[in-house]
């Protein structure tokens, strides 16, 4: 039995400790906001926060998360009002939507560490998140808008 702390809640799960966190989230705990895209850390659809850092849950063993704080897209904000979520709605970013959880979770780390990201900062932070539908421009603009929302405390 493993105890995990996910989105401020504790869960007891009976899984092999070598199971990637992604599959424990999706199959065992039924938090399916975190997505499977490649299984080898190439696409970023599986990004969650482990003690605030944007780890790729498809290659992160669940054992690494024991005793740590995990936040998934479902827990990014209590009222769906993280500046990124607000910006994402404002600019109508998604097309198919499958990659968007990972995009937002990666962007959240950028915005936490850099209140005024430049184009280059956005490139550096987000080059690991694939979008097959090509919403990159809107993601970029939404990050910039979210930074503004954050700065102004709206």
């Amino acid at each position: 039995m493993i105890t995990l702390n996910i989105n401020k809640k504790n869960y007891n799960v009976d899984v092999d400790p070598e199971t990637p966190l992604l599959w424990v989230l999706r199959d065992t705990i039924n938090l399916v906001g975190t997505k499977y895209g490649c299984g080898m850390a190439q696409c970023g659809a599986c990004v969650v926060h482990l003690n605030g850092e944007a780890v790729r849950s498809c290659v992160t063993k669940v054992s690494r998360a024991v005793g740590q704080k995990v936040v998934t897209i479902e827990g990014l904000s209590e009222k769906n009002d993280h500046p990124l979520q607000k910006a994402w709605i404002e600019l109508d970013v998604p097309q198919c939507g499958y990659c968007q959880s990972g995009q937002i979770m990666s962007a959240a780390v950028l915005l936490r560490e850099n209140k005024n990201p430049t184009e280059k900062d956005i490139d550096a932070a987000m080059a690991g998140n694939l979008c097959r539908c090509g919403t990159y421009l809107r993601i970029r603009k939404a990050i910039q808008l979210a930074a503004e929302i954050q700065r102004k405390g709206i």
Binding site: N12, E74, G97, I139
Partner: protein, 750 residues
């Protein structure tokens, strides 16, 4: 502390209702009693709905639900199709509830997403449904108030009789209206008076997407569901010989391992029943990871399948060659076939003589590789099959195309089969094919349990149903005055060619010849975003650019000249484009891009235009070199797709198509060695990334009142040509082989 138990009901997943107002949590009286917080997927909507046409349901409390009939894969029909209904219905868009429709071709139309057809197919039917429902409500009010129906007006979900000052909600008349026969031929609104359509509306599923709600096939779950995965042969042209699952069966969570045929011999396949491998080696277990782990312990022997036979409808047999193909041998074979006689597809005038007498002949050959769709959400499907009925649910583009085959395979009548369409994490044409639905269904039937079949990214990328491998040789004849007197395109491909014989510049040139050839293969192919066009535009638009230069003309002016000829004095009769509209997008992109503006000289500019799937698109691509790598910094796009339903969403689509086009043109491609794919995940198959995408894509729509045509595919093909033309401006070299990055990095595919 929560001990995990699965807490899903099928109903709650699929009642994927959304508030049309962009999913913003509007708390307002009628809806206040519903828990709209983050349990939106368990929206407890009332059961008392009155149906007014198959698309609309209304409650007495005036909650109006509109069904989206067409499967959603990012083109946002979930928003735009209901918008059309809401417009004619005169409902308040902000208060509409949208729900994905069930599979019901009687009530909800053709229900297939493909060919950029959603708008074309549903424009009239949805307007008529909305107008008819409004009319039924007006009749109900007129009857109740005992007034002439002509004196009733409507606005935002309310009915009014101004003379008497009476008014009432749609909901209060819904019951009565639902008993009135659906009228035909109701007058539709003037398109110039739209309040909803032609105004940007937010994605109705936006909030759910960004809060991680279960929406996609891969998210679908029911109590007691098992996971299945299929172990495919490692190469095209191979098949299962034998397997030893003893180690696999010992692994935790594993229920069963077995082999299963997909189609019996002689089974007549429909056009979208394509499958690569017929013998399925299936592993079934409790969870995804347990199955993924257990698969690795399979001991399998594969053997060459040799030549096999597919039976198509009408008992037509097609031989599938057994050779284990390699890209190098494929390229060599294509060169060989290019020199053989081919099938004539169109001939105008006397091209042979014109070429013989030409002062100058320009000949160029273009190549492009197989492309994998690589939808972000890998293939998957849920099935629960019993002897009496079947429920299948998942991401698919065309339930109606798969139902007949499913019915045959399961030996169940269609009315005992329920197909539910989840949101798709990308489609691009791949999800029009039904084999993975049938696989899931057969597995469920065998193990007598609900099963979700999932494909790993490797399974997905190596399965086939690719965009074909293409080549085309273009020839142009110029006379002594550098006039274009003849044009010849000879296109080939594995296993089909990409020639659209009746497309521009056919119709603009007196002497014209189009030919095509193909080489059969066991590498399966299928529709890929703008099939055939996605290569034809690249080759043709590069060639036209080179021609223009040889003739000393500006590339846009050159095309406009040809279009002028096609309009005023067309050659031949079946010219598959409207020369005016085609010219219009070129003129628009010329203007908006500042084509001749000297301050744009720092960019290497490439232009291309194309017509496909009923819409017109032109792009100017501005490229620079950055650390020795090509970077498209900005793009200007001009589109004519008729009436634009949802302008901001349409802009998003065009931007996406441009990014997709740049990525595929520069980086995408599959190669093979002895039948095995050399790329099986994103570390080898390169997809364009954030830092490689343009910073600006400015989209302009031609403003007209023409009935809407599609947008998913038309902007995509010309991007390839524009990129090639921009690369030429930058490097001084023409680019003939995709992906273009190979030529830049001086590596080769073979």
């Amino acid at each position: 502390m929560e001990d995990i138990k699965t807490n899903y009901s099928r109903r709650s997943f699929l009642k994927s209702s959304a508030l049309a107002g962009g999913g913003l949590l509007i708390s307002f009286s009628a809806l206040a009693k519903f828990d709209l917080d983050d349990k939106v997927n368990k929206l407890d909507l009332p059961d008392q709905w009155y149906e007014l046409t198959g698309y609309i349901k209304i409650t007495p409390d005036n909650i109006i639900k509109i069904f989206n009939p067409n499967p959603e894969f990012g083109q946002n029909v979930m928003t735009s199709l209901p918008m059309i209904v809401a417009e004619e219905l005169e409902a308040d868009w902000q208060k509409i509830v949208v729900e994905m429709g069930p599979h019901d071709n009687v009530k909800l139309g053709p229900q297939f997403t493909g060919g950029s057809n959603s708008m074309r197919m549903y424009w009239k039917p949805l307007r008529e449904a909305g107008a008819a429902a409004r009319n039924m409500l007006m009749q109900a009010a007129a009857q109740t108030w005992a007034v002439p129906v002509e004196e009733i007006t409507t606005k935002a979900g309310m009915l009014y009789h101004e003379k008497s000052g009476k008014s009432g909600t749609y909901g209060s008349f819904a019951s009565k209206a639902s008993e009135i026969a659906i009228p035909k031929g109701v007058k539709l609104k003037d398109v110039k008076n739209f309040n909803v359509v032609r105004h940007s509306q937010k994605n109705v599923e936006g909030l759910k997407i960004i809060t991680g709600k279960p929406l996609f096939g891969l998210d679908y779950k029911v109590e007691g569901m098992l996971i299945a995965m299929i172990e495919h042969p490692p190469a095209f042209g191979m098949k299962l010989k034998s397997f030893d699952a003893s180690e696999t069966l010992k692994m935790p969570g594993i229920k069963d391992v077995f082999s299963q045929k997909l189609y019996e011999d002689g089974f007549e396949q429909g056009g979208f029943d394509t499958r690569t491998f017929n013998d399925l080696l299936v592993v079934v277990g409790n969870t995804s990871w347990e199955v993924m782990k257990a698969r690795k312990k399979l001991k399998v022997e594969w053997e060459p399948a040799g030549d096999t036979k597919n039976t198509m409808s009408g008992k037509r047999e097609v031989i599938v060659p057994g050779e284990l193909e390699s890209t190098s041998t494929q390229l060599a074979k294509m060169k060989e076939y290019a020199n053989k006689p081919a099938q004539q597809l169109r001939k105008d005038g006397d091209p042979e003589t014109a070429f013989k007498n030409a002062a100058q002949v320009i000949e160029r050959t273009y190549n492009a590789p197989f492309l994998a769709h690589n939808c972000m959400e890998p293939m998957n499907f849920f099935a629960h099959v019993t002897d009496e009925k079947a429920l299948v649910a998942g991401p698919l583009q065309a339930p109606g195309w798969s139902e007949p085959t499913l019915s045959k395979l399961l030996n169940l009548p269609a009315d005992k089969i329920e197909i539910q369409m989840t949101r798709m994490g990308g489609g691009f044409g791949l999800r029009a094919y039904g084999h993975y639905i049938y696989e899931a269904a057969l597995i469920s039937k065998k193990v007598k349990a609900p099963v979700k079949l999932i494909y790993s990214r490797e399974d997905d990328m190596t399965y086939g149903i690719y965009r074909p491998m293409y080549t085309a040789t273009y020839r142009a004849a110029l006379d002594a005055n550098k006039n274009l007197i003849a044009f010849h395109v000879k296109g080939g491909g594995i296993p089909e060619n990409a020639v659209h014989a009746n497309r521009f510049p056919a119709g603009a040139i007196d002497n014209y010849l189009a030919e095509g050839w193909q080489i059969p293969s066991n590498i399966t192919i299928g529709a890929f975003r703008a099939p055939r066009s996605n290569f034809a535009a690249a080759a043709e638009q590069s060639f036209l650019d080179e021609l223009a230069e040889a003739m000393g003309k500006d590339p846009i002016d050159f095309r406009l000249e040809l279009l002028k000829r096609a309009k005023e004095n067309p050659v031949g009769k079946s010219n598959d484009y409207n020369a005016d509209r085609y010219a219009e997008v070129l003129k628009l992109v010329k203007e908006k891009s500042g084509w001749n503006n000297p301050e744009n000289k720092k960019y290497s500019r490439g232009v291309a235009a194309y017509f496909c799937h009923n819409s017109y698109a032109a792009h100017v691509v501005d490229l620079v070199m950055r650390d020795g790598q090509p970077y498209v910094e900005r793009v200007f796009s001009a589109i004519d797709c008729g009436i634009v339903i949802n302008p901001d969403a349409a802009t998003n689509m065009v931007q996406g198509a441009v990014v997709d086009g740049i990525g595929n043109a520069l980086y995408g491609g599959l190669t093979h060695k002895d039948g095995a794919a050399e790329q099986n995940n994103f570390h080898r198959y390169r997809i364009i990334r954030m830092n490689e995408a343009p910073k600006k894509i400015e989209v302009h729509f031609v403003q007209n009142d023409i009935d809407p045509t599609g947008l998913g595919e038309p902007p995509f093909p010309p991007v390839f040509g524009a990129v090639a033309n921009a690369l030429y401006k930058n490097t001084g070299n023409r680019f003939y082989e995709q992906p273009y990055i190979l030529q830049l990095n001086k590596t080769s595919r073979a």
